[in-house]
Every structure is written in structure tokens, then in C-alpha cells.
């Protein structure tokens, strides 16, 4: 009996120590300032730069363009600033950050007089990736904890994933990324050094890495849109109205000839979107069609030339919209 008791006590002790070791590992890798920053040069970290630029007390009212990865790849702020005569700031690095998180940031940082543009594409992620945001915010512990605290239940479910992802990044992530880059011969754009201090993608993206053999295979349907995101944006519009902020929507870029939809069905789509959204929509999807040579490594990622072209279209449309709006007022 004594041996049985000893066995059970030892087993419980091992379990308790394991739980302790687990909590210690998490604390060291994530929670404490002592933990190594594995995401030092991570692409997602550009989000933090964008956040800090937006929260700056000194900034004047500006144009903020937000959305998924087609925002950093598609917006050339200089071109837009020239067109609008106002500073332009982008917000967003990749789809899995999730639109709700970006809207939360805007609730905290938008100021009266700002003009906010949402780039409506095919990926309107409603459920954000906890891990991706944590990696982006890691060096700003206050913000990281603020984010975790707002999603208490989620942190527990993600703790393991965060530990092993960080272990991966610390041990072999960089080596694997460089091998991948060598094999694919792709220009390495997925790192923090591709961005300037305000989180604008400044790395020169030349040529196209996707197939230039374009055929109608992509679709654009109202039914594919995440309704939760659209509803949340409508709510955000109301808040903007109450706070003297202009909020409009612009379509993202599409490869010319890649959509299976006809002119008529795109008109229906535009009409459905216009009816559903409280905010005004700038132009029609067709107005944002660009030749395949303007796209870089994805059907939504533009190269530098493409970004200039898209930004010119958006800048002109926005300028016209703002002029008309001020005339009406």
C-alpha cells in the first residue's frame, strides 16, 4: 500500500512540475521582457509601425487605407498624397490579421477629419489569427497584453501554438525561409525591412512572378462576402459619422480578364454591395482592373508599378468624392 501511495504521489508531482515547467516556458518565451524576440524582422511587424504612426498625438487628419495584404502591396502613399494633397497612412499587412482587429485599432486611433478607406477584396477575414497578431505585437508588451486581455478565452487555446511557433522561429525559421527563397527564386518581400517607418511597403517589386497566361477562373459574388465583416463595417460607418470621420469603400485590384463574371453580373454585384453597405463605394469593380503585368506574386499583390497605377485610380476617385462631398456640404 505504501508503494502504491508513493507511486501516486510521484505521478502527481511529475504532473504538477510539468504544468509549472509549461507555464514557465510560456512566460519566458512570450510574457516576460526577458524572452527572445523571434519576430524581430517579421513581415507582420509592419502592423506595429502602422499602429504607432496612427496613434501619434501630433499627426494631422489624414487618409487612412485599410484592408488585407493588398493594402501594403497595392497602395503607393506618395502617389496618393500627390493626388490628394494630404498625408496617407495604410493599415493592414495580411488577411489573417482579420478586419475586426484593424477596425478595433481604428476605433482607438482615428481622429475627427480623417478619411478612412476600406479596400474591399475577396478576403474579408472576420476571424483574426490570434498567433499572427501576437507575433506582430510581440515587441510592444503593453499592446500585446491589451490584445490578450480583450480575448481572455482565446489565449488559453493558443498558448501551445504560440510556444512551438516561436520555438520554430528561434531554431530554424530563418534558415528555412532563406532556403525557400532560394528555391523559389522569389524576391524576399516578407520581412520588416520591406517597410518604411510608417509601415508602407517600400521594397521595389519588379516584374511579375505569377503566370501571365490569364483566363477567366476567378469569381466575385456577393454571396462569397463574409456578412459579419460587412455588418461590422456598417457599424463602424455609423461611428465614423458620429465622430466627423469620412468612411468610404473602394474595391481592390483584379487581374484584367481573370473574372468569370460578365459586365452585367458585375453590375449586379456592385448594386448589391452598394445596397448593403452604409458607406459609399468608390467606382465599380471594373474600374480597378489592371493588366496581369502589374501583379507581383499573387492575384491581389501588385508590383511597384501596379501599386502606382492602382493608387492613382483610387486617389483620383477619392479626390473627386471628397470634392463632391464638400460641395454638397
Amino acid at each position: 500500500m505504501k508503494k502504491l501511495f508513493l507511486f501516486i504521489v510521484k505521478l502527481i508531482l511529475v504532473m504538477v512540475l510539468t504544468i509549472g515547467a509549461y507555464q514557465l516556458t510560456f512566460w519566458y518565451l512570450w510574457d516576460a521582457q526577458a524572452g527572445p524576440d523571434a519576430y524581430e524582422n517579421a513581415y507582420q511587424k509592419a502592423l506595429l509601425l502602422q499602429y504607432h504612426a496612427l496613434e501619434s498625438e501630433e499627426r494631422s487628419p489624414e487618409v487612412i487605407v485599410f484592408g488585407s495584404s493588398y493594402v501594403p502591396f497595392g497602395i503607393d502613399t506618395k502617389v496618393m498624397e500627390e493626388e490628394l494633397g494630404r498625408p496617407v497612412q495604410i493599415l493592414g499587412v495580411e488577411a489573417s490579421i482579420g478586419i475586426p482587429f484593424l477596425v478595433d485599432v481604428l476605433y482607438d486611433t482615428a481622429k475627427p477629419g480623417d478619411t478612412i478607406v476600406y479596400m474591399l477584396g475577396k478576403s474579408n477575414w472576420y476571424n483574426e489569427d490570434f498567433m499572427v497578431i501576437s507575433a506582430a505585437l510581440e515587441s510592444d508588451k503593453t499592446l500585446l497584453h491589451q490584445y490578450w486581455d480583450s480575448r481572455d478565452d482565446t489565449l488559453l487555446g493558443y498558448q501551445n501554438k504560440m510556444i512551438w511557433r516561436k520555438l520554430y522561429t528561434l531554431t530554424c525559421g530563418r534558415m528555412i525561409e532563406s532556403i525557400r527563397s532560394d528555391i523559389s527564386k522569389k524576391e524576399q518581400v516578407y520581412e520588416l525591412s520591406s517597410f518604411d517607418e510608417n509601415g508602407n511597403m517600400i521594397v521595389n517589386r519588379q516584374g511579375t512572378l505569377i503566370s501571365t497566361d490569364v483566363s477567366p477562373s476567378d469569381t466575385l459574388n456577393f454571396s462569397d462576402m463574409e456578412v459579419e465583416t460587412l455588418d461590422m463595417l456598417n457599424e463602424f460607418y455609423d461611428w465614423c459619422e458620429d465622430n466627423d470621420i469620412t468612411f468610404v469603400i473602394a474595391y481592390s485590384m483584379y487581374i484584367d480578364g481573370s473574372l468569370v463574371e460578365t459586365e452585367e453580373s458585375l453590375a449586379v454585384y456592385h448594386e448589391q454591395m452598394t445596397d448593403y453597405m452604409n458607406a459609399d463605394i468608390l467606382l465599380t469593380p471594373q474600374d480597378y482592373f489592371l493588366p496581369v503585368d502589374d501583379f507581383y506574386n499573387h492575384s491581389c499583390h501588385l508590383n511597384s508599378e501596379g501599386a502606382r497605377a492602382y493608387s492613382a485610380i483610387l486617389g483620383e476617385a477619392l479626390n473627386q468624392y471628397l470634392d463632391e462631398k464638400s460641395d454638397t456640404e
Binding site: F7, V14, L17, N160, R165, Y168, I183
Partner: protein, 480 residues
């Protein structure tokens, strides 16, 4: 198919802890009753209908055992019993019955058949106490996936008294932890990586398919042997030793050896109850006599073996399921073994030309690689849901090399592959040591206790962290 309490769930951990404590706290004479109640509760978790089905099967085979022992018409009694159980298995394998198929039916039915044959052969007396017989069939570590147990071997252990054995329990815990590592980290994660390929076979080519085939071989091994480790570990904690079902199969040098190391208890069952009876059948005896008359020693030995092997592999195929994939898979395995058997004289002659080279490590390594590749290819018939998928994958495998696509595939699953890397290294070390008949636990017992406990904690930590946030899938062999 309701599965509430698999070995990897918290519910099972609680169940096992309660069973374990009660088992050693009650008077020793009552231990088997604790086990029987635990078995009932465990199997009841798969559903009431399944539990009633198991109860019915136990009752029928118990009565059959008594009848076979007492009747003068033993041959008739065993024949009727066999027909009954084979028909039951056959009906439950039909597509229309698949949704009511009780969990573990294929395993415990073979167990019942084995018991009845042993009674018929008078190698064991029929069990008079139905509760004790029920304990043997429903013993929770083996009722769902085996290993198949010999009644004579297990009854002594199940019904005898077991004082608490510290060393045994520690070893049992180690086996459970090893099984959890195999299942939760390696098998489940590989499943997550490769399932998409089998679901969309037309999208993948060449090296990606080959990589997936190798990963599947690892997945199936870690899934099934992981279950066995947990079953053997739990049984060991209760003072009961079950048969080993795996013995480092991927280090086999031939397909026949592979099947002596893979699902060992199934192989033994078919050897005892199909292979030898067919060998001793009138047909094989006649062939042997005819060949002897013609002084054809090769034919005399080989032909009956070929017939027996064909019967065995066809029946194993049907046991796996009434599905062309399973049948072709088992025929493929059988065919390789039969061809090896037919060509044995030729191999022997070649090996005799240079015996040193033939028995060199280099040749052994080549044989191991050849066997592993054959096994990997055979799983191309086993894993896909349909024959059509198998054909597409086979065609795409050779249509292009697809190195870059494979690199891309690895990249997209790099986190999962990173997670299984260390456990795979641990598994490889454990397997190689087992192959060399070195007991890891015995070695570890001699180490400094502090170091040992640090290793235990690190192992459990690794298990917990790398399991990630994925819910554990069911075991691969539950479908049988």
C-alpha cells in the same frame, strides 16, 4: 459510430486513474470484478447498442464453447459456430450495416472464434463462469483494436491476484506516454498534412506523392503501434501482460518478415486458424503426396504453401473490409511473399555464390530499404478511399518529378513537420534500441534520479506543447 472515450482523451485518463486505484485498493480476490465493471463502463461509452451487441456475442460464444466441449458432434458444433460468426462479420461489413457496426467487432469476433477453436481442439477447457469469459473478451485495453490474445495465456493473468508492482507501473506509464507521443504528435499531425492529398489526388504529382506515401507509412505505424503502446501500458499498470503487436516492422528485410513484425497477433491468429488448417487440408495433403510421387521436392513444399498463403491473404483482405482497395492491398502483400517463396531457391543459389557479400550490412540495408519501399507502395492501395484514387495517385506519381511543388508542399506544412521532427528522432532511437533488444526503461532506471525526472518532465512537456491545439482524431484501425 460513437467514440466517447478513446485512449487519448481526458475522460479515459480519469477512467484509468479510478480503475487503477480501485483495482489495487479492493481485496485481491475481487480485482477481476473491478476489471469486469471497468470493461463494461468503457465499452458502454461506445453506445448502448454496441454494448448489447458485444454482450450478445460474448453470450453466444460462451454457450458455443460449452456446447463444443460437451456435445458428441464436435465437428458440427464448431462448423455451425464458425458459420455464425463469419456470417455475422460478413453482414456487418456490408455497406448497409456500416453505420451500426459496433466498435471493435472485427477484433473481438476473431477473439471469440479463436477461443471456440481452442475448445474444439481441446487445448483449453470451456470457461464455465460467463463473467470470467466476458472479462477475457471485453478486457478494455484490447477490445477495440487488439492485440489478439490467446485465452490460455490471458486467463491465468486476468483471474489471478495482482499485488501492486512499482516497477511494472512505471514501465506501463512509459509505454502509455510513448503511445501518446506516437499518436498525438506524430500520427495526428501527419494526418493533418497528408489528408488533403488523398482528398484531392489530381492536384499532386511525383515527389509530393512519394513524400506523402512515406509520411502515411509513418502515420499508420505510429497510429496503430501508438494505440498498442497505450493498451499494453494500461494492461501493464494493472499487472497484466498483453502480446506485443509490433516489433520495429520498418527494419524488416523482407515482406514476410515485415508481416511477422507488423500486427503480429493478427498474423499469429491467421497462421493458427487458417494457414495451418489449410496446409493440413485434404487438397494440400493430396498435392504433397502427388509431388512426392513425382519426386518434385520443390513443388511438394511450395505449392501447398502458395495455396495456404492465398487463402490467408484473401481472408485478411476480406477481414479488412469488402472493398477492392483492401483486397488488392492484401493480395499485393501476399503476392510479394508468394513470389519470394517461389524464388527462394534462386535467391539461395545467388547468395551462396558470395555468402560474405550476401550477409553484409550493405546488403541488409538494401533489403531493408527495398522492403520499406514495397510497404510504402502497398499502402497506396490501403489508404485511399477508392480504387480510382489509388490509380490517379499511382499515375501522377510517375507523370512528373515535381521537385519545386514538393518543396512548396513542405513549406506550407513546415510548422507541422517541425513539430514531428524531434518526436520522430526519439521514436527512431527507441525503435533501433528495441531492434537491438535494449530496454530503454531498464537503461534509464540506472540513471541519476534527478536526471530521470527531468527527462520525464521534459517528455511530458514536449508531448503537451507539440500536441498544439488540434483535437485528436480517432484511431486508424477503428474502421475495422
Amino acid at each position: 459510430m460513437r467514440i466517447e472515450m478513446t485512449f487519448t482523451t481526458m475522460a479515459f485518463a480519469i477512467f484509468m486513474a479510478i480503475t487503477f486505484v480501485l483495482y489495487y485498493l479492493v481485496p485481491k480476490k475481487l480485482q477481476w470484478i473491478v476489471l469486469l465493471l471497468a470493461n463494461g463502463y468503457f465499452y458502454y461509452q461506445t453506445g448502448l447498442n454496441s454494448a448489447l451487441f458485444l454482450l450478445g456475442t460474448i453470450l453466444v460464444s460462451y454457450l458455443a464453447g460449452i456446447l463444443i466441449e460437451r456435445t458428441g458432434q464436435k465437428r458440427w458444433a464448431i462448423a455451425v459456430t464458425l458459420i455464425l460468426f463469419v456470417a455475422l462479420l460478413g453482414i456487418m461489413r456490408m455497406p448497409f450495416a456500416s453505420f451500426i457496426m459496433p466498435l471493435g467487432l472485427s477484433f473481438y469476433t476473431l477473439q471469440c472464434i479463436g477461443y471456440c477453436i481452442e475448445v474444439y481442439r481441446q487445448t483449453t477447457p470451456a470457461e464455465k463462469n460467463p463473467a470470467k469469459y466476458a472479462l477475457f473478451i471485453s478486457f478494455f485495453p484490447h477490445v477495440l483494436q487488439g492485440p489478439f490474445a490467446d485465452y490460455n495465456e490471458l486467463k491465468k493473468q486476468l483471474y489471478s491476484e495482482h499485488p501492486f508492482d512499482y516497477e511494472r507501473c512505471v514501465k506501463g506509464c512509459y509505454r502509455v506516454a510513448l503511445g501518446l507521443m506516437k499518436k498525438l504528435i506524430i500520427a495526428d499531425r501527419i494526418g493533418y498534412v497528408i489528408d488533403t492529398v488523398y482528398e484531392n489526388p489530381t492536384d499532386y504529382f511525383g515527389m509530393t506523392i512519394f513524400l506523402v506515401m512515406v509520411l502515411y507509412a509513418i502515420q499508420l505505424y505510429t497510429d496503430f503501434s501508438g494505440f498498442m503502446d497505450m493498451a499494453l501500458g494500461c494492461a501493464s499498470m494493472l499487472g497484466i501482460t498483453l502480446r506485443e503487436n509490433f516489433n520495429v516492422p520498418y527494419l524488416s528485410k523482407s515482406m514476410a518478415e515485415f508481416w511477422r513484425r507488423w500486427h503480429i497477433s493478427l498474423g499469429l491468429w491467421f497462421k493458427n486458424y487458417v494457414f495451418y488448417p489449410v496446409q493440413r487440408s485434404q487438397l494440400c495433403t493430396k498435392i504433397r503426396k502427388d509431388m512426392k510421387k513425382k519426386k518434385n521436392r520443390y513443388g511438394m513444399n511450395v505449392l501447398p504453401t502458395v495455396i495456404s498463403l492465398t487463402a490467408v491473404w484473401t481472408l485478411i483482405g476480406l477481414w479488412h473490409g469488402f472493398d477492392w482497395n483492401y483486397l488488392c492491398y492484401d493480395w499485393f502483400c501476399g503476392l510479394i511473399i508468394i513470389i519470394s517463396e517461389l524464388l527462394k531457391p534462386l535467391y539461395d543459389r545467388i547468395n551462396h555464390m558470395n555468402p560474405r557479400f550476401a550477409s553484409s550490412r550493405f546488403m541488409d540495408a538494401l533489403r531493408t530499404i527495398r522492403t520499406f519501399l514495397l510497404v510504402v507502395f502497398s499502402f497506396l492501395l490501403f489508404r485511399p478511399d477508392t480504387m480510382e484514387t489509388s490509380i490517379i495517385l499511382f499515375r501522377n506519381l510517375f507523370s512528373q518529378i515535381g521537385f519545386y511543388a514538393m518543396a512548396e508542399f513542405i513549406y506550407w506544412h513546415i510548422y507541422d513537420l517541425f513539430l514531428i521532427a524531434l518526436p520522430l528522432v526519439i521514436l527512431l532511437i527507441v525503435d533501433v534500441l528495441a531492434y537491438k533488444k535494449i530496454d530503454v526503461m531498464d537503461k534509464m532506471r540506472k540513471w541519476n534520479p534527478l536526471l530521470r525526472y527531468i527527462i520525464y518532465i521534459a517528455g511530458l512537456l514536449l508531448l503537451y506543447i507539440t500536441r498544439g491545439d488540434m483535437a485528436s482524431g480517432g484511431f486508424a484501425y477503428y474502421v475495422f
